[in-house]
Subunit: 194 residues, 2 copies
DNA sequence: GACTGCATGTAACCGGTTACATGATTCG
DNA sequence: CGAATCATGTAACCGGTTACATGCAGTC
């Protein structure tokens, strides 16, 4: 799925600026399973405007560059919905340098192994907080995209967020339960060899 | 982490052909958290050979193109280890078209939602079988990379594989427990609206 | 007869990242 | 006083994917 489609999806939850769209992928609703950087979002939005799938209203701001608040056109909405129906979703892909590196735990100093595990846990802990199912406490002006026009939580979002949460919890639990075991075994091996 | 480094890592478990390396990322040890396609592996291997980080022996085969069996040089090994020590691992990224699509469950026919969930579950189930911690039953000629020269399971690999397994299990469990709930809620909403 | 697995390789293409440019404000 | 947040935009670059080329063996 290219950034254009992703942007259309982001705008399904209501109007937003390019900057806010990035936040949805960085912090918000979509952060666990899609990414997109500003360098790709802005051109995508421009292209979508040319194709008539989105429109924007320019809001002047003092001491700040003008805000472009984007919105789906009815054709944009239709196009996105059609895409949903027609797209064969690509395979999921999870990339993790840390896990790749940990595969070689034997070959590196134990302190590094521990540091890597801790960093892994810390990062996931952070994400975990961001998805917190009842992230209702966020300031109202933040486009969360998880609610529809009536302010109701979209069931699809709940489901997906819940799934993300379940994954993270399992990850963190596994680390809590197995980190020490790994470190101990590595230590044992080292003393055996020397 | 670029494909070159990934290839070096793949060869840490012993010699392998380009084709076998791809399998490690497709099916094997690394399949859950890194990917690499043949189109990137072969050029990477060529480059690594030029740089003296790997060598290969050509094995003639009948009725088949020659096999190039690659192996780390001692410099390759050193380089890889240095990379492990020096690299700041990039952020983990999980991309899932299916989860993105499911976010918009409200907007699509219930059958599609169900089909997507089922496909998601099926794919994860498949991966789950591939990582099966005691995947000892695989034919011996398959380079698994999970064992060291003495045939012992590398503790790092165990840990990472276990983590992958824990994630998958949590995912599948969540789906079992919440799929029907989501579908029911979607149905309820539809009848409410009409 | 078609497809999959083994086995290597090349090259066009494309998409996204990174980095730069600009600039005020607020927080630590 | 520097860093981060808000806010947009451009362009070079790069890395990897996709598709093509080749060919035999075994399976469905």
């Amino acid at each position: 799925m290219d950034v254009r489609t992703l942007c259309l999806g982001a705008l399904m939850g209501g109007e937003a600026t390019g900057y806010e769209i990035r936040k949805m992928f960085e912090d918000g609703t979509f952060s666990h399973f899609q990414i997109a950087s500003l360098g790709s979002i802005y051109p995508a939005l421009t292209k979508l405007t040319q194709d008539g799938l989105v429109t924007f209203v320019e809001h002047e701001q003092e001491n700040r560059p003008d805000k472009k608040i984007y919105q789906l056109t009815s054709e944009g909405r239709r196009t996105f919905l059609r895409t949903l129906l027609q797209t064969r979703p690509a395979e999921d892909r999870y990339r993790s340098d840390i896990l790749f590196m940990l595969t070689f735990a034997e070959e590196m100093p134990i302190e590094l192994t521990e540091a890597l595990i801790d960093e892994f846990a810390a990062r996931h802990e952070l994400m975990s907080q961001q998805i917190d199912p009842e992230n209702t406490d966020k300031p109202a002006h933040q486009k969360s995209n998880a609610r529809d026009e009536n302010g109701e939580l979209r069931p699809g979002c709940c489901f997906v967020a819940g799934l993300g949460q379940a994954m993270r919890n399992a990850t963190l639990k596994f680390i809590r339960e197995n980190k020490q075991g790994l470190l101990d075994e590595l230590k044992a091996r080292k003393t055996n060899k020397s």
